[in-house]
Amino acid sequence: MGSVQQKAQAGSLESGDILVMVSPAENDGDAVIELESLVMPQYGRAIHETIKTILEKNEVRNVCIKAIDRGALDFAIRARVLAALLRAGVSLKEESE
């Protein structure tokens, strides 16, 4: 199981990007995902699902994720979540999801 060792972040608030911040969860349990997005009504659910899928594939639990989306496409969301996890000390199963 991948384990978040420390706080980390990746991405930016530029248009087309997403800022992803990860930190170890205070309590054991499923991942907590907090998402802000300009396109929340249209794509919020899909973005949330993408993040959740990456966590599941890499067997990461006990993590808090805060993501601020600026209209990122799926490839950018995946890349930024993976980069934040990598920087937080998670050993990734595959670097392109």
């Binding site: 530029e14 087309g16 990007d17 496409l73 490839f75 950018a76 980069a83 392109s96």
Partner: protein, 291 residues
């Protein structure tokens, strides 16, 4: 290998640009992991480019990735992006043919079964690299092009970099000569003032005159000018067709020599005419998105 007239370089850590890479009408785009990415963002850029390659096509533009030198984090770049099939890796600061053979070995190790072999463009940016240009071009059949890094080269020389580019004249000529000896293409260094279209046009015309087949663009605004300069104009195309017709007619008549408009046509002239029509064919093929 298709000729790329315009090759637009864009920062590998900018998702907004990567997602729009196909709208600029460039024949090829380079996702840059080297100079355009600060050291502390190399890891994130590598992941972004790998995911862009996997999930986003480049449209009709061929996608290349400029990796970092092997003595920094080039190996990690190769491992991250090669499995997702960029058409080409752009290798900076090459000085020896052994650097190419090392990279080819690493690339082969990372390619998936059945994947199209990835080509290389070697960028020569130092006097040592220029001296070894032909050997670098011939180091492996995967080397498809040589390019010049004009800014670094002028810096190493201690020369002032000018818009006219006299300080690059020898380097450009050496690269074109070495590429021709190796049977590959020469791609010109960027014109770095994106607010000077007239200067770019002059610079691109000089490069084409010297024998370069394309030029790197640093800004989408440069693409249209570069495409125009490196596209044969209608008069050239008409001339090339007439040359080949005259050659064919002479052969049918059993004449040893053909002539057109009172000028003798020999083999080199016919080869140039074929090159013009080949370039036109490549451009048309690119427009149809059949790469």
């Amino acid at each position: 290998m298709k000729i790329n007239r315009s090759i637009l370089i864009m920062p590998g850590n900018n998702p907004g640009m990567l997602q729009n890479c196909s709208i600029f009408d460039a024949d090829a785009v380079i996702f840059d992991l080297e100079d355009a990415v600060i050291p502390q963002e190399k890891d994130a850029a590598r992941l972004l480019v790998a995911n862009a390659l996997r999930h986003n096509g480049g449209g009709k533009a061929e996608i290349m990735v400029r990796i970092n030198p092997l003595d920094t984090c080039g190996k990690e770049d190769i491992r991250a992006v090669v499995p997702y099939g960029p058409a080409m890796l752009v290798v900076p600061k090459v000085e020896k043919e052994t650097e190419i053979t090392d990279i080819v070995r690493l690339v082969k190790d990372c390619e998936k079964t059945g994947q199209n072999p990835i080509s290389l463009t070697a960028v020569l940016e130092t006097p040592l690299g220029l001296f070894a240009a032909a050997a670098i071009g011939m180091a492996d059949r995967r080397v498809a092009a040589l390019s010049l890094g004009g800014e670094d080269y002028a810096t190493v020389l201690g020369a002032r970099r000018t818009k006219e580019g006299q300080e690059l004249f020898v380097a450009r000529s050496l690269i074109v000569n070495a590429a021709a000896a190796a049977g590959i293409y020469a791609i010109d260094t960027p014109f770095t003032d994106s607010n000077d279209p007239e200067g770019l046009e002059k610079d691109a015309l000089l490069a084409r005159q010297l024998g370069f087949k394309g030029k790197i663009a640093i800004n989408p605004r440069q693409v249209e000018i570069i495409n125009r300069i490196f596209t044969p104009d209608p008069l050239e195309i008409e001339w090339a067709r007439r040359v080949l017709l005259a050659m064919e007619k002479a052969q049918q008549e059993g004449a040893g020599v053909a002539s057109l408009d009172g000028k003798m046509i020999d083999k080199p002239v016919a080869v140039r005419a074929r090159q013009v029509l080949q370039a036109v064919g490549d451009i048309e093929q690119g427009k149809e998105g059949v790469l």
